[in-house]
C-alpha cells in the first residue's frame, strides 16, 4: 500500500526522496504500524515526537491504511 509521509523539524534531512514542502510517498506492506514506518525510514524513534494521521494525533502503534497521510514532528524545546 502507498502512504504519504511528511517530516517536520529536519527529521527528513537525510532522506533524499523527502521534499521538505511536499513530503514523500512510501510503499508499505499491509498491516504496518507507524513504529514500523519509522524504522523503515531509518529515523531513531526518540527523534520523533508528535505523530498525526490525516490530521488527527495518534500513537506510534497505530496501524496504517492505504492513502493515509502521516505527519511526524520532532520534540520541541524553547519559547
Amino acid at each position: 500500500m502507498e502512504i504519504r509521509v511528511k517530516l517536520y523539524g529536519a527529521l527528513g534531512k537525510d532522506l533524499r526522496e523527502h521534499d521538505p514542502l511536499k513530503g514523500m510517498t512510501v510503499e508499505l506492506p499491509e498491516g504496518m504500524r507507524i513504529l514500523d514506518l519509522i524504522e523503515q525510514l531509518g529515523i531513531p524513534r526518540k527523534k520523533v515526537g508528535i505523530i498525526s494521521v490525516d490530521g488527527r494525533l495518534v500513537k506510534d502503534t497505530r496501524v496504517l491504511g492505504a492513502g493515509n497521510f502521516v505527519r511526524m514532528y520532532r520534540p520541541i524545546f524553547g519559547g
Partner: protein
C-alpha cells in the same frame, strides 16, 4: 562592576561601584529587585519617578556561550506592574566588556521636547548627547545615521516612532551581530518608558576591555566548556540552526494549540504555507540565510535572514511568535506579508506579539476581514503615521478591544498572551495568569511538559500538577534571566545545574549552590509580586479572560479547567 546612573532631570551622570545589596545580581534579578526597592509602585510609569534599568545578565561578557542577554526593566505603562523584557543582540556583551553592571536612567527632562542619546566609548566614558536631529526616525534609518556619526563598531539600543509617541506596545530595539536593529525587548511598552526619559538611543562601543574579573577563572573555564559542549550535543540545537524557532509552527498547530483568527480555532488551515520548514525552503531558494548568528557568542545560530523574491533583505529574524501573531492569529498565510510586518514592527519600534494581536482583535471586531494581509500592513504603518487607528494598534490589544467594545481580547494584565492557547495546554494558563509580567510565554514555558509525545509528564487538558509545574518553571526562569543565558541555550543545563552554579560562584568569589539558585528565583518573584501588590494588583489580576473558560477551542473543544482557586495557590510558598 559598576552602575552608570543618568539623571535625565539634571542630565547628570554618575558612575559608581555596585552597592553590596545588589552584589551577584544581573539581568532580571537586578532590574526587578532594584525597581521594587527604588521605584514608587504607584508612580506614573511615564513620569519622572519611574526608572529604566538596562542590565546585562550576570554571566554576560564572560567566556560562556549564548549569554548576550540584555534585561530592560521598569514599571510598565502597559500592565501597570513591574516589567522585565530581555533581548539578544550584542549590547549585553558590549556593556559587560566595559564592566557595566547596569545603566540606570532616572528622572525626566523639564523640557519635554528634549531628546538625548547616551554614548559610551571604549574606555567606558559616558556622555549624554543631544539627539534632537534624530527625532521621529525609524530604527533602521536611525541606526544607519548613528553609525555614520559614531562608526560601525557600536551596538545601538533604541526606540522608533511608536516609543516616541508613548504607545504601550512600543519596544526597545537593539542591534544584532550584523548591526541591524532587529532584536526587540518587545514586551510591556518599555519603548514608551525610554521615550518618557527623553532618550532615543544608547550607543555602546564594542571594543571594551574591562570585563569584570573572575574570582576563579580556571573553574569558570572548565564549567563553561562543559556547558557549551552540552549545548552542541543537544539534538534540538541543530534543528534550531536549520529552522529557527519557527520549527514550532508545525508542531503547535498539530496539537491544536496554535491560536488562530484571534483564538477562535486552535489549528490554522493555511499553516503549511507558514511553517518553519516552508520558510526555510523559501529563504534557501531566494538566497537568504536560514542559519544566522544574531547574538554575540552564539553557537546555536537560530536566527535567519528573510529575503524577497529578488534576494533583497526583508527582515531578521523571522521567529515563531511573529509568524503566529502576524500569521495564524490574523488568518494570514502570506509569509512575505508576515516578514514585511515583522520588519515594520522592528522599524517602527513595536512588539510583534502585542501588535499582531491588536490587529487580530480589530479584525475580530469586524474592522477588517481576517486574512487581509494588506489591511494588517496598513494598520501597522498607521502607527508610525500617528493616526487614531495607529494609536489604538500601538497601544495593544486591550486598547483595541475597549475601542470596539469587543470582549474577545486574549490578554492577561493587559498584555497579550503568546502563541500557545491555554485551552489546549493548560499549563500555559497558569503561567499567563500568574506571572507578574502579564501574558508572557517566556516566564514559564511549560509546553513540552504538557505534551506526552515530547516527553511531558502532565495531561495537557487537566489541571492536575499544572500549578506546581508552572511555579517551578517560573522560579527557574527568573534565575536564568538573571544570569543571562539564552532560553534556547538552556540545553546546556544537561551539564548539570551545578555547572551553572559553579560559574556564578567562580565569578562571585563566594559559594553559590543549587539551593542559592532556587532561593534566587524565589527572591525575584517575591520582589516582583510585592511591587505589583503595592501598585494595586490583587489575586483578581491573576486571571484569564472569560473567553478561555467559556469558548471551547477547536479541534479538541476544550476550555481552561485550571480554577481560580488553583491559580491563587501558585504563589503560596
Amino acid at each position: 562592576m559598576k552602575f552608570v546612573k543618568i539623571d535625565m532631570t539634571s542630565q547628570g551622570i554618575t558612575t559608581g561601584d555596585v552597592p553590596t545589596e545588589y552584589e551577584g545580581l544581573g539581568g532580571r534579578g537586578l532590574t526587578s529587585i532594584m525597581i521594587n526597592k527604588e521605584v514608587p509602585a504607584t508612580c506614573d510609569p511615564l513620569g519622572p519617578e519611574n526608572k529604566l534599568i538596562i542590565a546585562p545578565g550576570y554571566l554576560s561578557g564572560t567566556m560562556l556561550v549564548n549569554t548576550s542577554r540584555l534585561s530592560i526593566g521598569a514599571k510598565s505603562p502597559l500592565t501597570g506592574g513591574i516589567k522585565e523584557s530581555n533581548v539578544g543582540g550584542t549590547a549585553a556583551a558590549d556593556l559587560a566588556h566595559l564592566g557595566i553592571t547596569a545603566i540606570i536612567v532616572e528622572g525626566q527632562p523639564a523640557d519635554r521636547e528634549a531628546l538625548y542619546l547616551i554614548k559610551i566609548d571604549a574606555e567606558g566614558q559616558v556622555e549624554l548627547v543631544d539627539a534632537g536631529a534624530y527625532r521621529g526616525l525609524r530604527t533602521y534609518e536611525l541606526v544607519r545615521r548613528l553609525k555614520e556619526a559614531y562608526g560601525e563598531k557600536n551596538s545601538i539600543t533604541c526606540i522608533g516612532p511608536a516609543g516616541e509617541s508613548l504607545l504601550t506596545a512600543a519596544s526597545i530595539q537593539t542591534t544584532d551581530a550584523d548591526g541591524r536593529p532587529c532584536r526587540a525587548a518587545g514586551r510591556g511598552g518599555l519603548g514608551a518608558v525610554m521615550a518618557s526619559k527623553g532618550l532615543k538611543a544608547v550607543v555602546v562601543d564594542r571594543g571594551g576591555k574591562a570585563t569584570d574579573p573572575l574570582a576563579d577563572a580556571d573553574l569558570f573555564k572548565a564549567c563553561a566548556k562543559k556547558y557549551a559542549q552540552a549545548v552542541r550535543d543537544d539534538d534540538f540545537t541543530s534543528v534550531l540552526a536549520q529552522l529557527g524557532s519557527a520549527v514550532l509552527v508545525g508542531s503547535i498547530n498539530a496539537v491544536g494549540a496554535f491560536p488562530t483568527r484571534n483564538a477562535r480555532e486552535g489549528q490554522f488551515d493555511g499553516v503549511e504555507k507558514i511553517t518553519g520548514e516552508t520558510m526555510a525552503e523559501v529563504i534557501k531558494e531566494r538566497g537568504g540565510a536560514c542559519t544566522h548568528m544574531g547574538c554575540a557568542q552564539c553557537i546555536i545560530r537560530c536566527s535567519n535572514e528573510y529575503v524577497d523574491k529578488e534576494g533583497a533583505y526583508v527582515t531578521s529574524s523571522l521567529e515563531y511568535e511573529t509568524i503566529w501573531s502576524m500569521g495564524g492569529m490574523l488568518g494570514n498565510d502570506d509569509l512575505d506579508a508576515i516578514a514585511k510586518l515583522d520588519f515594520l514592527c522592528d522599524d517602527i519600534g513595536l512588539d510583534t506579539i502585542s501588535t499582531g494581536v491588536a490587529v487580530a482583535v480589530a479584525m475580530d471586531a469586524g474592522y477588517k476581514p481576517f486574512g487581509d494581509a494588506q489591511a494588517a500592513i496598513e494598520m501597522v504603518e498607521a502607527v508610525a503615521e500617528g493616526t487614531e487607528m495607529g494609536k489604538l494598534i500601538g497601544n495593544g490589544p486591550a486598547a483595541v478591544g475597549e475601542h470596539f467594545n469587543h470582549d474577545r481580547v486574549p490578554v492577561m494584565k493587559r498584555q497579550s498572551m503568546a502563541a500557545y492557547d491555554p485551552r489546549a495546554i493548560q499549563g500555559m494558563a497558569v503561567t499567563y495568569a500568574t506571572t507578574p509580567m502579564g501574558g508572557d510565554h517566556t516566564a514559564g514555558w511549560v509546553v513540552a511538559d504538557n505534551l506526552e509525545d515530547f516527553g511531558g509528564k502532565l495531561d495537557r487538558f487537566s489541571a492536575e500538577g499544572q500549578v506546581e509545574n508552572s511555579r517551578n518553571s517560573q522560579l527557574h526562569m527568573a534565575a536564568v534571566d538573571t544570569v543571562g543565558i539564552c532560553d534556547f541555550a538552556q540545553s546546556g543545563f544537561a551539564a548539570g545545574l551545578d555547572t551553572v552554579c559553579k560559574m556564578v560562584s567562580a565569578k562571585l568569589g563566594k559559594p553559590f549552590g543549587e539551593d542559592d539558585w532556587a532561593a534566587l528565583g524565589i527572591r525575584i518573584l517575591k520582589a516582583e509580586r510585592e511591587f505589583n501588590r503595592k501598585a494595586g494588583f490583587t489575586k483578581e489580576d491573576d486571571r484569564l479572560p472569560k473567553m478561555f473558560y467559556e469558548e471551547p477551542l477547536p479541534p479538541h473543544n476544550k476550555v481552561v479547567v485550571v480554577t481560580e482557586e488553583d491559580l491563587d495557590g501558585t504563589w503560596e510558598f
